[in-house]
Amino acid sequence: MVENRPWLNVLTHLLLILGIIVVIFPIYIALVTSTHEAEDILTTVQPWFGSEMLENYGTVLQKGKVNASGIPVGMMMWNSLIMALGIVFGKITISILSAFAIVYFRFPLRKLCFWTIFLTLMLPVEVRILPTYAVVANLGLLNSYAGLTLPLIASATATFLFRQFFMTVPEELAEAARVDGAGPMKFFFDILLPLSRTNLAALFVILFIYGWNQYLWPLIITTDESMTTIVMGIQRMLYVADAIPEWNITMATAILAMLPPLLVVIVMQRQFVKGLVETEK
C-alpha cells in the first residue's frame, strides 16, 4: 500500500464484492433452481431455496431426466470420473517417461522425438476432429473408455513441464546415483519421481479439470447412451420437447457436473495456481 486513501479502500472492496457476485450469482441461481419443483420455476424466479433438494437430486442421480434418454446422472458421473482419471494418469505417465528419456539420455532420434511431441501443441482435437474420429472408429474404440481417453492423452505441455523441472534437478544427484551403481530406472523411481511430487500434484489438478470438462470428443465418439459423460449429458437434457420444462432437473445436473472439479480447485488451490502458471511456460 503506497498511501492511505479511505475512500479508495472502500471502492476496492466494493469492486471485489461485485466480482464475487459476478462469479457466484450464476452458480447460486442454478443451485436454488435445483431445489424447487418444476412447476414453481415455470414463469417466475425463485430467489431462495425450496424444499425439493433431496427429492430432485435423488431423481437425477438414479433416473436422470426421464424424457431425455433417462440415463441416471450417477452413471454419467461415473463415466466422467473414469475418463478424467484415465486422462490424468495416462497423460502423466507417458509424458514423465518421455521427458525422462529426452533429458537423461543421448540417442540419435532425440531431437526428432522432441519436435514430434512439440507438434501436438498445434493440433487440438477440434481441428482434426473428423479424421481422428475415423481412426478411433477403425480401431473399434467407439463407445469405450479407451476411445474416450487415448486420443486425448498425448500432450506437449505436460512433457515440457517435466522437462523444465528435470533440467533444474542438480547434476550431482544423477552423478551420485551413477557412482553408487544405480541404473536409470532406479534413479527415476527412487530420486526423480519423489522430487516431482509437487509438479505431479499441480498437473493432477489441471488435468483432472481438463478431463472432466471434455465435451466435443465424448459427444462424437459415444453413441451408446450408457457411455454418456455428464457434461455432454446436460446438453441432451436441454433440447427435449417436454410438457413442463424441468429446469430443476437440468440445473441439478449442472450443479453435479461442476461439483467435482470445483471441489478439486477449492481443496487444492495452491497446486491449482501452480499448475496453471507452470504449464504455460
Partner: protein, 293 residues
Amino acid sequence: MEKRCTFNNMWLPYFLVAPQIIITFIFFLWPASQALYQSFLIEDAFGLSSEFVWFENFEELFSDPLYLDSFYTTVIFSVSTTFLSLSLSLLFAVMADRVIKGEMAYKSILLWPYAVAPAVAGVLWMFMFNPGNGILALTLQSLGYEWNHVLRGGQAMMLVIIAAAWKQISYNFIFFLAGLQSIPKSMLEASAIDGAGPVKRFWTIVFPLISPTTFFLIVVNVVYAFFETFGIIHAVTQGGPYKSTEILVYKVYNDGFVGLDLGGSSAQSVILMIIVVLLTVFQFRYIERRVQY
C-alpha cells in the same frame, strides 16, 4: 541447456518415449495428414469414389459467403470475449492487489469459474437469460428491453460472449495478479511521492509494466475463444439463430458430422490448423522474449 551427466543405454530411451510417440502418430499426426489429404479431394454423393481436385475445396470455401460469415462471426466473438474477460479480470486483479484484509477469500472465489466446463457455463447463463423465467431476461423485460436470444442473433451472440468471458475470468485474473505482484513497490512509492495519484500511477507505470502479461493473455484468450468454446456454442445456440453464432470450430463439426461434407470439412480443419500454428508460433516467439525480459 543440456545435462552433463546422462545414462547410456541403447534401447531404454526409445522404450520410454515410445508410448507418447505412438499415440502422437496414431491420434495426431496421422489424422492431421488425413485432413490435409482429404482437403484436396471431392467425394461423390454416395461416398463411393473421390477425385483429387487440388485447391478446389479451398477456393469454394473462400467464395462461400456462409464460410466468410462464419469467419467474421468468429472474429467478433473472440475479440469481444477477449476484451470483456481481460478488462474485468484486470480490474479485479488490480483491486485484489490493493486489498490487505480478506484477500484470500476474494482470490479463492474468483478462481471458481475455471472449474466449470464451457458447456456448463453456457447452460448457467442460458438459464438466467431464458425468456419467460430467467432472472436477467425478466429484469431486462421489466426495464422495457425485450430479450429473446432464441430469435435474435445479436442477443444470442451477447449471451455466448458473456458465458465465454465469465469462464475465462479466473485464468486471466491469476496471470494479471502475478504480473502486478512482480512490479517493484519502490517504483510506485517514488511516483506517489512525486505526486502521481492512483489512476495516473496505473496508466503510466502499472499498465506498461504488465504489457507482456497482457499480450500473452490476449493470445491465450483468442486461442480459447477460437477452439475451446465449442461446448458453449453447441449447448446454448447450436450456431443459431440463422447461423448468427456459428463460429469456425462449430462449422467444422456441423459440416463434417451433420452435413457429411468430408472435403469441405477437412479444408476447414486445415485452415484452422494454420491459424493454430500461427498463434502458437507467435506465442512462443513472444514467450522467449518474456524470459529475457
